[in-house]
Amino acid sequence: MTGLKNQGVPDAGHALHLLRQMLRVRRLEEKCIELYSAAKIRGFLHVYIGEEAVAAGVMETLAPDDAVVATYREHGHALLRGVSAGAILAEMYGHAEGCCRGRGGSMHLFDAATRFYGGNAIVAGGLPLAVGLALADRMAGRQRVTVCFFGEGAVAEGEFHESMNLAALWQLPVLFCCENNLYAMGTALGRSESQTDIALKAAAYEIPAWAVDGMDVLAVEEAARRAVDAVRSGGGPHFLELRTYRFRAHSMFDPELYREKSEVAQWMERDPISLLQGAMEAAGQLPAEDWTALQADVEAEISTAVGFAENGTPEPVSELLRFVYSDRPDDGNGGTGNAEATGNPEATGKGRAAG
């Protein structure tokens, strides 16, 4: 592990990019909280503040046609995978311009263009999907990687173990990223697991696994790059445990009775953004005007996104029953009769007939 100290970063230009990525997530979610408090956004809202280094570091290592499966705390993953802040916010507003046309909301962001498969609000429910996406790539002979994010709470679920086993048994190209923020809602890891070393659980399935400092974006990126390369080159599934911390409550309605404020404060001293910013500043790699400009850029992006979401339109209620079944022109039973084809480029279209 490199460890961000005050001696600066090897590639200041790239580090500045990572800093920007983390800041984009941070500012987007701060705005989400504000909009939620103003009742513009409803439903559950789970923010990623404090954990930004994980998504920022891992996403950096992916190719455009790789796939991403995430959880309900996925605003940052969606944004850094390439979904626009405007489409994300509009989705939370329940507007037609949202990335899921208002059908998903905060917990269910999807995007076919960037192969972003959600947005899964069932803990561990996304793991089998990731295994299947990887299986499809393997069977089709494609050199793609599927990255699956989940929290440490998921390791208690049967689907976690079934998925580890299947992926290892079939040597599938999937990278499991466990975002260990120490609490499954309010239940601390030590109160729910007999074995708290999560990487060890993956290792038990013969999956190469590391634990990584999830507050150090450079460390995350380095580990992820190593793992992704191994997966892509046919090394079978890999596993990263990213040790991180959620600074904010589990969701908006959470008085945080389960942890001490001092513990939160302690972790906030290792804020991934401040950490990188501090390291760069100390080594003279982040001139003040660059930092100011960066902040202004990000503020402008989020402000534009809010405007986009605010000015969105509600999907007409006449479209209520749409997307329960695929639109198909010839069927009065299943589909709702809309002609527009579904967007999943892989799940539609003619088979490669074998003759």
Partner: protein
């Protein structure tokens, strides 16, 4: 007051974590708020100086209510003399507001509906049912004395058939039986049920009317009084002799065989009375030039075996069906206060039964049949009508009906519309008549066609066009 969850409607400020004059950073915690679930610290999304509190500790306010004012600089802080504007008391929760008074007793929806229909206030009835439930009988009892003084409230439904409440007795009957009885104008009260638990079934209703008896419009009293209603025309050849008695349908079986001309007469009477009461009839007639049609038919018949010969009725029926297709105001049903045109033409054909009475089953999609198909189906329909073997759909489906009394020597017939249909076409005898054509007087075959139509749906202009169309169509019989 920020919203901390979708189910949070209001919050109570239990503690201020800052004081006026403090400089507030974005994200600073400013107050503790008691929600319905728990106490939460809330943060500021504004940066600046806390100017004033807008609510007091202990105040409960709705989500979205300002609770403090933050200004950009201390200069904007108002002078201390200016008291904070009084917070309006929280609006009473809508659910707490007075709504409809609870009824005094449990009232099942059908009973509530009955009470509404009869104008009875269920709140004043003490129920005699289980657990004090108000029953149908309770409502009827309550309604009975007030009937003379207070007529039932006006409703969209047609009130005409409703018995007085005192007479209302729930007859155990199937939904189909109730629908049929209503269609036939039959009173269920008098019918003994043979179904489960003595329920009146379809068959019971049909037995109360003679088998499959469903009256077509008999000759009306207005015009040719000489035509007795039971002697409606037979449009084609006689039925096969073995089917003289109406036969019981093999299914379900135990309906009494044997026709009761008397009750059929009653049923016809009830239906026709209803028709004349509800339907504002208007009547038109025209004389059809049948020269071309008869000549064409005779020529066609010379090349056919006897069994396949056409009769004039076939041509008249086909022309009527085509005209009905073209003039939709004649073809369909008047129901629930509106006309529903039918895209298909199911032509009702009045068939006299041997034991008296008549039925008017449908030739389905008559406009699409060739003349030969129409002849075949007409023969089959007449035979089955007399054998009592019609299917229900054939009885219920006609969208317009034709009666032809020509074979009896009747010159013109003005029918009574069969509700819910909106038109009835009558044909009289084919006669040789002196006829002026292109300025020359000659002898031609002709017949009088009449139309009885529903003024709620059409008027003489449309009706005239319809009759005219029949005549035109008959001028090109080879295209029928």
């Amino acid at each position: 007051m920020p919203s901390l969850g979708a189910d949070m409607e209001h919050g109570k400020v239990v503690e201020w974590l800052v004081k006026p004059g403090d400089y507030i950073h974005k994200g600073d915690l400013v107050a503790a708020v008691d929600t319905d679930k728990t106490v939460m610290d809330i943060e500021s999304f504004q940066e600046g100086v806390l100017a004033e509190f807008l609510v007091d500790i202990g105040d409960t306010v709705d989500v979205g209510t300002p609770i403090a004012r933050i200004t950009a600089t201390p200069a904007e802080v108002p002078p201390p003399s200016k008291a904070p504007p009084p917070e309006p008391p929280p609006a009473p929760h809508p659910r707490a507001a007075g709504g409809l008074p609870e009824p005094g007793a449990k009232v099942p929806p059908p009973v509530r509906h009955l009470a509404h229909t009869l104008g009875v206030d269920v709140g004043r009835i003490s129920g005699s049912g289980p657990g004090g439930e108000v029953t149908r009988a309770d409502v009827e009892r309550a309604a009975a004395p007030s009937v003379t003084g207070a007529p039932p409230r006006k409703e969209e439904e047609q009130p005409e058939a409703r018995p007085t409440p005192a007479e209302t007795r729930r007859v155990r009957s199937s939904p189909l039986a109730r629908r049929l009885a209503a269609e036939l104008g039959v009173d269920l009260q008098g019918i003994a049920g043979t179904g489960p638990g003595g329920a009146v079934t379809e068959d019971d209703v049909l037995s109360a009317v003679p088998p499959r008896g469903q009256p077509a419009a008999p000759v009306s009293a207005e015009k040719p009084a000489e035509a007795p209603p039971s002697e409606a025309a037979e449009p084609s050849e006689p039925a096969a002799p073995e089917h003289v008695e109406p036969q019981e349908a093999p299914r379900r079986g135990r309906r009494e065989a044997g026709s009761k001309a008397e009750s059929l007469r009653q049923a016809i009477g009830a239906l026709m009375s209803r028709s004349k009461k509800d339907i504002p009839h208007y009547y038109l007639s025209t004389t059809l030039d049948l020269a071309a049609a008869m000549a064409w038919m005779q020529a066609a018949n010379q090349q056919r075996p006897v069994s396949a010969r056409l009769v004039p009725s076939a041509l008249l029926l086909k022309a009527t069906a085509l005209a009905a297709k073209e003039v939709p105001d004649m073809n369909g049903f008047f129901a629930k206060g509106a006309f529903q045109p039918s895209s298909a033409v199911h032509l009702g054909v009045a068939v006299a039964l041997r034991h008296g009475g008549l039925v008017a089953p449908a030739l389905h999609d008559a406009d699409t049949l060739t003349l030969d198909e129409l002849m075949d189906q007409l023969r089959d329909l007449v035979a089955r009508a007399r054998a009592g073997r019609l299917q229900r759909a054939e009885m219920a489906d006609p969208t317009i009906t034709v009666t032809n009394l020509g074979d009896l020597g009747v010159e013109s017939v003005y029918g009574v519309i069969y509700p819910p249909q909106v038109a009835m076409v009558g044909f009289g005898k084919v006669l040789e008549q002196p006829w002026a054509h292109n300025g020359m007087l000659g002898i031609r075959q002709a017949a009088i066609a009449t139309l009885s139509a529903d003024h709620r749906v059409s008027d003489g202009l449309r009706g005239g066009r319809f009759l005219g169309r029949i005549d035109e169509l008959l001028q090109a019989p080879d295209r029928l």
